[in-house]
């Protein structure tokens, strides 16, 4: 009962938030990033957290969705929903190729191969012409349904919807045969096989599901930002951000990725937007023209990746079960 009340409050807050903050595009932008990262990390979590198969190349599926959707839209101006669906197909094909190569192997191979596949995808997109190469793709004046192009709010609800769907799937999986099987595979593959679990099949199932959801998010992101290039949607850094979000919140838990995104996205935003430097300068603590001031303004904006590195190291050493791991009661 308590749980349902909690979820109802959460849903109400999430739905009402855009109405409360109005149309402040900056805040809405950060909220969209949070929802997207929470959903991406939750989708990764199905494969990485529950099945224990750490993918270090999820950017490939995100990019597959974003690129497929934008290419189809700019070239043929098809129905966006159809484009998203084709994106899912493309991502699924990449996932199936990866899965069929490496899921017969054990140990470090899946992690390594997932990066290799992602790099093949990234470099191919960079080298082909129809993908816009290094220039990327700009979705200039294509109308999406009847949406107001200047409003971000529809994308807030779009991302929220995908997040809710992803969390619902995860919640359902946890209590289903597939969820138990994935966790068994994570804990001990031999034991899992001896209990009748087709390891290969279930790993691929988790990968496909995870890749499909990730690709939808990539499509939405492309439609929302209206400009993509390989460094935005296919970079290894994105793959690592997705994992890190799950790790910080708690891998293999329902809410871990959401908590991770609530913390990490604003943190990165503070650094990226140079908030710290601005505050220090405005408060008169640092002179804008001094060496420190210039450094803060010029370089600190790039420091969020450094911060990710530091957080990753600290998290693995001192908080390997994430924030939710702290609150888990010991059984």
């Amino acid at each position: 009962m308590k749980q349902i009340a909690f979820l109802a409050v959460l849903a109400a807050v999430a739905l009402a938030l855009p109405l409360v903050i109005g149309e402040n595009p900056y805040i809405i932008g950060i909220l969209i990033s949070m929802l997207m990262m929470a959903a991406l990390s939750s989708a990764w979590n199905i494969l990485g957290g529950y099945a224990g198969q750490y993918s270090f190349g999820h950017a490939a599926y995100f990019g597959a969705g974003a690129y497929t959707t934008l290419i189809l839209l700019t070239l043929y101006n098809l129905n966006p929903l159809f484009c998203i669906a084709v994106g899912i197909v493309v991502a699924s094909i990449i996932a199936l190729v990866t899965g069929s190569i490496v899921f017969r192997l054990r140990g470090h191979y899946f992690g390594l191969a997932s990066i290799a596949v992602a790099e093949v995808v990234r470099l191919s997109v960079l080298n082909f012409n129809f993908t816009g190469g290094a220039q990327g793709i700009l979705l200039s004046d294509v109308a999406l349904w009847d949406l107001d192009l200047n409003s971000k709010t529809p994308f807030y609800y779009g991302m929220l919807l995908v997040l809710v769907v992803t969390l619902s799937i995860t919640a359902y999986l946890r209590r289903s045969k597939t969820g138990y099987y994935l966790q068994a595979i994570r804990e001990d593959q031999d034991a899992a096989a001896s209990l009748g679990i087709n390891i290969y099949f279930y790993k691929n199932k988790a990968l496909l599901l995870s890749a499909a959801l990730t690709s939808v998010l990539g499509s939405l992101y492309g439609l929302y930002i209206r400009f993509i290039d390989t460094s935005a949607v296919l970079d290894l850094r994105l793959s690592i951000e997705i994992i890190l979000t799950a790790i910080i919140g708690g891998v293999g838990t329902l809410w871990g990725p959401v908590i991770g995104a609530l913390l990490l996205v604003p943190l990165a935003e503070i650094l990226r937007s140079n908030l710290i430097g601005d505050v220090l300068i405005k408060a008169g603590l640092v002179s804008e023209t001094s060496g420190v001031g210039l450094f803060l303004k010029g370089s600190l904006a790039n420091a969020h990746v450094l911060l990710y590195g530091i957080i990753t190291v600290l998290c693995i050493l001192y908080l390997p079960k994430g924030i939710l791991g702290l609150f888990r009661r010991k059984k």
Binding site: E187, D190, A191, S194, L195, G196, I197, K331
Partner: protein, 242 residues
């Protein structure tokens, strides 16, 4: 006519140049408790791995329930009704005891409620019901062995392969497990039993095969085996505790 549930025919397993199992044949009848014994390194566990699909046999056939299963994967073999336990127990550490058994139960149902009911029933059988919500990784070894047993029972096997299920247990624990096994057989399951504890084997088995250095040394009833001079020389005289 005698029903052979499992028929092992000239099975060999080589690892590179090493012969771990060499030309072993025997048959197991329905509802038998069949012992597989031998000194350390005799190839017992390797033979289990060949039968259950973990390492396919290099040559020879494994026929289960009139079906040739040499080339099948472990999960397919489990689905046919043959389940195994592990000498080195393999609990799914971060799941609860009940969830561990449910994983086994899902091989016969897709409905979580049914799996849970089945799992609870098996926990009752092995006497672990008080531990249902404990995490499996935290159990002491004796209870982990019982958990292994409950988990394979939940797959509703026709045949159970138990790899040193009493290993590392004290007498009382061993007796409890043996009682459980007798109970399982009464319900119609067939059991192959790898064991070091000679007393346990002779007290429970209908028939015994002795392996030594990968080869079959002897086969017979417990009475025949304990008086067989070859067995005494190789097994009992070999410095291995009985």
């Amino acid at each position: 006519m005698i029903q052979h549930l499992l028929h092992i025919s000239h099975v060999s397993k080589h690892f590179g140049g090493n012969v771990a199992v060499s030309d072993v044949s025997f048959s197991v009848e329905e509802e038998q408790i069949f012992g597989l014994i031998g000194p350390n390194g005799a190839g017992k566990t390797t033979l289990f791995n060949c039968i259950t699909g973990f390492f396919p046999a290099t040559s020879g056939d494994v026929i289960f329930d009139t079906k040739k299963i040499n080339a099948l994967r472990p999960d397919e073999i489990c689905k046919l009704g043959m389940a195994r336990t592990w000498q080195r127990v393999k609990p799914l550490g971060s799941l609860t005891v009940l969830e561990n058994v449910m994983v086994g139960a899902f091989s016969v149902t897709t409905v979580a409620k049914e799996a849970e009911a089945n799992a609870k029933e098996q926990l009752q059988v092995v006497g672990l019901n008080d531990y249902a919500t404990k995490s499996a990784g935290s159990l002491p070894i004796g209870l982990k062995k019982k958990l292994e047993l409950a988990r394979v029972l939940a797959t509703r096997p026709k045949m159970l392969l138990l790899d040193e299920i009493c290993g590392g247990l004290n007498h009382t624990e061993t007796d409890t497990i043996l009682d459980i096994i007798r109970g399982i057989r009464k319900k119609g399951a067939t059991i192959i039993f790898i064991e070091h504890d000679m007393k346990a084997v002779t007290s429970i088995c209908d028939r015994i095969v002795v392996l030594n250095s990968g080869e079959k040394l002897a086969e017979g009833t417990p009475g025949e085996i304990t008086t067989n001079p070859d067995v005494i020389a190789a097994y009992l005289g070999g410095g291995h505790h009985a």
